[in-house]
Structures are given as structure tokens and as C-alpha cells.
Point group: C2
Chain length 220, copies 2
């Protein structure tokens, strides 16, 4: 199997979420329909699904159930992964609900903060520990994935700690782009500020995504 691009992974993740609601609707789903509900194109969908080793049937499409199963085994780790989050404020609290609502093969097991008033408390059943215990807790709880929601200035040092303690993937919500020095660590940077600045940039001009829309509408 060839290397699958990050964009493809993202789209497959989206397809899965769209498929879940489709499951009750019908037994088969067409690439074209999946494209419609994911804002993509049918060819793109089929290209993406190629990586899954899941065959569709001409004129029928893909078995919804089978496709979901393929996506699950493609995306999900075999056994559930433990996740922690560093920094406890509004943002991290909103992440809590992401994990609570949708039970993937991911469980949020702890959060960390420096603020003594938060340490020792527990939100939605997730205990908050002091950042000093980060390393030991990561090892103790066998944590694989870390979420950075701390201040920009602490992002690098916290991620260093995470990596030394054995974390394999980091989702970084701070503005600080992490310095990657090891090739076996995956870093996902979510730059919310850039998102707003992009929105501002594009609100200046018009007809920026004209191409995209023409492409999609042309086929419909």
C-alpha cells in the first residue's frame, strides 16, 4: 500500500463522520453522494477510498457498512489510545466534550496545569494534575497522544517533556510552531489565529474560491 497523504487522512476522517448518519439511510453509498455531503468531488472520494482496499460495486456504490468497517480499521489504532491535555481553560474544556461526545478509540485520561487551584480538581471525570507530574503520569498511564493548550511560551518545553516521556503524537493548539527534531513524532499544528487572519484576508477581495465552486458545481 502506498503512502497516504495527510489530506487524504483528513478527508477519510470526514467521510467516516458523514457515513455514520448515512448508515441508517441506505445500505449503499455512491462516491458522488459522499462527495456531495463532504464538499468534494466523486473522483477525489474514489481516489481516497482506493487506499482503503475496500471495493465498491459499479452502479451500486460502496456498502455503507463495509466502507465504515474499512475506514475504522484504517484510521483507528487496534487498542484504544490514551490522550492527555496540557492547560486547563475554556478551550481545553471544549475539547473535553469532543472526547465525551464521540467515543473513538481515544480516551482523554488526564489534564495538567500549573495553577494550584485547578490541580486536584476533576472535570467530567478527568483529573487535573500538576504539570510537574506530566512525565510520570504519561508513563504510568501509557499515554500516546498529547494536546497542547497551554501558553505559547510554554509550548516548546511542554512538548519536549511529552516527547521524552514517550508521547508519539502532539496536537498543538498554541501559536508556537514546535521544533521537530525526531522523525518518529507526529505534530499536528492547528493555527486558529491564522484561520481568522485568512478569513480577514479573503473578506477583502472577492471571487477567491470561484474555481473551487465552479469545479464542484460543474459536475452537479
Amino acid at each position: 500500500m502506498n503512502k497516504v497523504s495527510e489530506k487524504t487522512i483528513e478527508r477519510i476522517s470526514l467521510y467516516r463522520r458523514r457515513l455514520v448518519s448515512e448508515l441508517a439511510e441506505s445500505d449503499f453509498v455512491l462516491s458522488r453522494h459522499l462527495a456531495d455531503i463532504s464538499n468534494s468531488t466523486d473522483v477525489q472520494v474514489r481516489r481516497d477510498l482506493m487506499h482503503l482496499g475496500c471495493k465498491g460495486a459499479p452502479r451500486k456504490g460502496y456498502s455503507t457498512k463495509e466502507l465504515l468497517k474499512s475506514i475504522n480499521s484504517f484510521l483507528d489504532p487496534i487498542k484504544s489510545k490514551n490522550v492527555i491535555i496540557v492547560g486547563l481553560q475554556n478551550f481545553s474544556r471544549s475539547i473535553f466534550s469532543v472526547f465525551k461526545d464521540r467515543k473513538q478509540k481515544l480516551s482523554l485520561v488526564a489534564c495538567f496545569d500549573i495553577d494550584e487551584s485547578k490541580v486536584g480538581t476533576s472535570i467530567d471525570g478527568i483529573p487535573c494534575y500538576h504539570i510537574d507530574n506530566l512525565s510520570s503520569k504519561i508513563k504510568e498511564m501509557n499515554v500516546n497522544i498529547g494536546i497542547l493548550s497551554c501558553s505559547d511560551s510554554n509550548a516548546q518545553s511542554v512538548s519536549d517533556m511529552m516527547i521524552v516521556a514517550g508521547i508519539k503524537s502532539i496536537v498543538n493548539f498554541t501559536c508556537h510552531p514546535l521544533n521537530i527534531t525526531r522523525s518518529d513524532i507526529y505534530i499536528e499544528q492547528i493555527d486558529i489565529t491564522a484561520a481568522f487572519e485568512k478569513a480577514a484576508y479573503y473578506s477583502k477581495s472577492i471571487l477567491f474560491n470561484a474555481d473551487k465552486i465552479n469545479k464542484i458545481n460543474k459536475i452537479k
Copy 2:
């Protein structure tokens, strides 16, 4: 000036934030240095900066102050844009602080919710209105940018309302990929769930970003 890619816009937004702290450090900044602190490469930086019409000096680099000025005039709208957010919970509250902390040419002027207990209150000086007033308030306040932080199921209808009322850019934090039908509207989709699922996917295997790292380290 040629069309600038979205990725370039994102990186320029990042460069700006990195430059602000650089400003106190030195009068000139090298593409190489900017690359280091942005996790990029020097060529990429220079390519990006090409679009700015800002010249660097061989052996000296770019005047930090000049570069910032160029980026500002490139990214920022001439007059401040008004922003609203729909859905008032932990996540949106965390967005409030993004706008409070960094005063761009963007001001968050209102938020909206259906929950009557929230309507009429005010957080950080931002008033919360009932969603029924969305359209009228957008027009009244001359809002250009909308943030979607509501439930997935309401995302499409709220965005439709926003667009009809005159909003030009939408930043969508819901999982629902918005159906774009007009070419003069910019949609930025932030898929946090996909981010976590990507992190989970990559935590399974190793050596995924080996290439990226080799590229970056090779030069250093």
C-alpha cells in the same frame, strides 16, 4: 501580482506573529532565521515573501520593521472588520480571548445563541443576542466575518443566514462541511476532530514525517 495560495497566507500570518517578538531583537531578519522559528525552509520563506513586494538585502536580510509593515498591508483589511460568533459555550469563550489578547484589524462585536439564559448577558463586554436577531444585527453592525461554533446540525442553516445577511467570510468550527454555492464567500473549515483522528492514525506508525525532518535538518 499573482494569486497567492492559502498555505502561503497561513505562513505569512505565522511569520508576522514570529516577527513581532523579533522586532525588539534586531533590525534585520534572515529568511533562514524566519524559517527556523516558523519550522520552514529559507527558500519557502523567500518564495512567500516574494508576494509581498518587499525586498530583502543580500547579506543583511529583511528589515524587520519594513517586513512587518508589508505583511500588515498585505494581510490586513484597510479598515477594521467586525466579527460575530454563533454558539456560546466553552469553545467560543476561548475564542473571545484570542480576540481580546491580540488586537488585529478584527473586532468581535457580538455573539448569538438560542439559549434564553445566555441571551442578554455579556461576556468580556461582548453582548449575547438571540439567534433570531442574527440577520438584523449583522446588517446593523456591518459584520463581515462569522464564526460558527454551534451544533453541527445547525451549521448549514446558520451559515445560510449569515451569507444572506451579507457576511463574506465564515470560519467553521463545526464538523459539518458547509455547502458553498456562492463564489464570493470564503469558508475556512477547522476540523478539530480530523486533527485528533490524524494524530491517532500517525501514532500507530512511525517515521511518518521523516522526510520533512530530513529536509529541514539537512540544511541546518
